[in-house]
Amino acid sequence: MTSDQTLALEPDQERALQTLMRRYRGRGQSALLPMLHEVQAITGWVDEPTARAVAHTLGIPEIEVHNVLTFYTLFYTEPVGKRVIRVCNDIACVLAGNGELIQRLAEELGVDPETGGTSADSRFTLELHPCLGHCERAPFLMLDEEPMGPVAPDQVPDLLGGVS
């Protein structure tokens, strides 16, 4: 299921989105993933009207956009926090004791450590992620696109506090 909510965009985000739409006009299905990456870089997640606009911009059926949005875990059809923290929850990081790290992050953000979630102030979304491919730096996390590891639980307050 997808969210009934819609995006509330700032004027500069609207403008950026419009520019993007012009750039992708008529480029067809093969441009769908690159376009969704770029859309999300502006909006954070993709609501229904935006998905529809993407379909119309590329000239593809609407259903194709949702087929793809719901398949790939880096695309969101529901609101996410301003920043997304992806904590690796795979073998090497489990061995390196990521449980404490996750516990600490969940406590700070007030979300369920078993499933992750978005903090009440919508600033952060915590995600438990399959292997992020940085096993030599376990326990590892990515703050949006910034790789961090190994991260000790007591670094968490600084990590969250240092984010604007």
Partner: protein
């Protein structure tokens, strides 16, 4: 131990952002050499080197190169940089630290096969590798390594970067094509194979990052040099991603066939935690566990295949005796249930049932017959699934039970 790294020689030495630095460290010499040799003889070098694909399937690269070289009409080269096998990080380090090498290799492959366009499909969770490559591609266009008449060869070649978006299945080559085409990453039926009908239905050469980068020294130093390293039936240098309970986890370049013991002791600084080796998972979640009796196994494709294991991507995750292996199996089962694409029933439903059963066992509610049930599910997935994901989704778990690790 006096092996001198080749694939990783520039790592930590060159500035990954700097094309000149790359050129100053042997960059684009392989491409120049290939242009001297011409496409046909370049392909012959790859064939003679007996390079086996480094992504995990160990398919002879030369066969693919020759097939695409011989194919008519528009064709493509694709670098499979969707490295997602748990425990594997070799390709990421190559791309982050030596991005031009991959680009050179793709251009070289395009020249040798006659493809006019290449794609590098970078895993979505590797933003840094993507940024480095993006910058490097732009520099290569400026410098004339991409575009028209590359190095005076008359060959025109364009390269486009694509980002994955969080789907393990897209490491499967045909699912990766679907993803580039803007669709869900569902594996296609084979045949037809990519060399006949791949990306956009055209003949396509698709190789793993490490495989492509391995071609550069093959062309420069010759296939004989390549064959002089490692065992005769799976020769060459190999990258191992070493992690888990070792003192020095990290990327290791060694001759193919290094033993597990040597990898852990000499390169990894020995087992950490309890200090006592319990097992290693070789080949990632899709791989198999090796126990203490198998520490002297050479880690090459054929030696492992003989014992029913697989080298896969070269990931080695080490477990000391303090690790509760059921927890590890739970992670593996959860991983496959999360990543199964859902196209075929055996994998879609099998991975789900496998996870449910393991989780029940972890919760202390195991039942007699669970092991047989897991074996049955495993057999169905192995025999009936469309692609490698389902076919290997039970191998690690079943091997752990074989070794009685739990």
């Amino acid at each position: 131990m006096n092996y001198e790294p080749v694939l990783t020689a520039r790592i930590g030495v060159v500035d990954p952002a700097c094309l000149h630095d790359y050129e100053a460290h042997g960059g684009f010499q392989a491409l120049a050499r290939a242009v001297e040799l011409g496409p046909d003889r370049t392909v012959a070098q790859v064939e003679a080197a007996k390079l086996l694909g480094r992504g995990g399937a160990a398919f002879p690269a030369g066969i693919k190169w020759r097939a695409v070289h011989n194919a008519e009409g528009p064709k493509f080269v694709v670098a499979n940089a969707d490295e997602s096998e748990p425990g594997t990080f070799k390709d990421r380090i190559l791309m982050e630290k030596d991005p031009y090498a991959l680009i050179e290799a793709v251009i070289l492959a395009g020249y040798a096969t006659g493809a006019g366009k290449g794609f590098i499909y970078v895993r979505g969770e590797y933003p840094r590798a993507y940024q480095r490559l993006r910058q490097a591609v732009a520099r290569c266009y400026e410098a004339g390594y991409l575009g028209k008449d590359i190095l005076g060869s008359g060959h025109e070649f364009h390269l486009e970067l694509r980002r994955g978006a969080g789907a393990y299945i897209c490491g499967e080559e045909t699912a990766l094509f679907e993803s580039i085409e803007g669709k869900r990453g569902y594996p296609r039926l084979k045949p037809p194979f990519p060399t006949e009908a791949g990306l956009f239905g055209r003949p396509t050469l698709i190789n793993n990052v490490e495989s492509l980068v391995s071609v550069l020294p093959i062309v420069l130093r010759g296939p004989d040099w390549f064959n002089s390293i490692g065992p005769a039936n799976s020769p060459g240098p190999k990258l191992y991603s070493l992690s888990g309970r070792v003192r020095k986890p990290g990327l290791v370049e060694a001759p193919m066939g290094v033993t597990l013991r040597e990898l852990i002791e000499a390169h990894g600084g020995g087992v950490s935690g309890s200090g006592e080796f319990q097992a290693a998972l070789v080949g990632g979640a899709a791989g198999t566990f090796l126990g203490p009796d198998q520490l002297d196994t050479p880690l090459d494709f054929h030696s492992l295949a003989k014992m029913g294991a697989a080298l896969g991507s070269g990931a080695v995750i080490v477990f000391d005796t303090s690790v509760d292996m059921m927890q590890v199996l739970e992670r593996i089962a959860a991983f496959f249930a999360h990543e199964s694409c859902g196209k075929c029933y055996p994998c879609q439903l099998g991975t789900m049932r496998q996870r449910d059963i393991i989780q029940r066992m972890v919760a202390g509610q195991g039942r007699p017959g669970d092991l047989q049930l897991l074996r049955d599910i495993g057999q169905t997935m192995r025999d009936a699934s469309i692609c490698g994901l389902g076919q290997t989704a039970s191998s690690a778990i079943l091997s752990a039970f074989e070794l009685q690790l739990t």
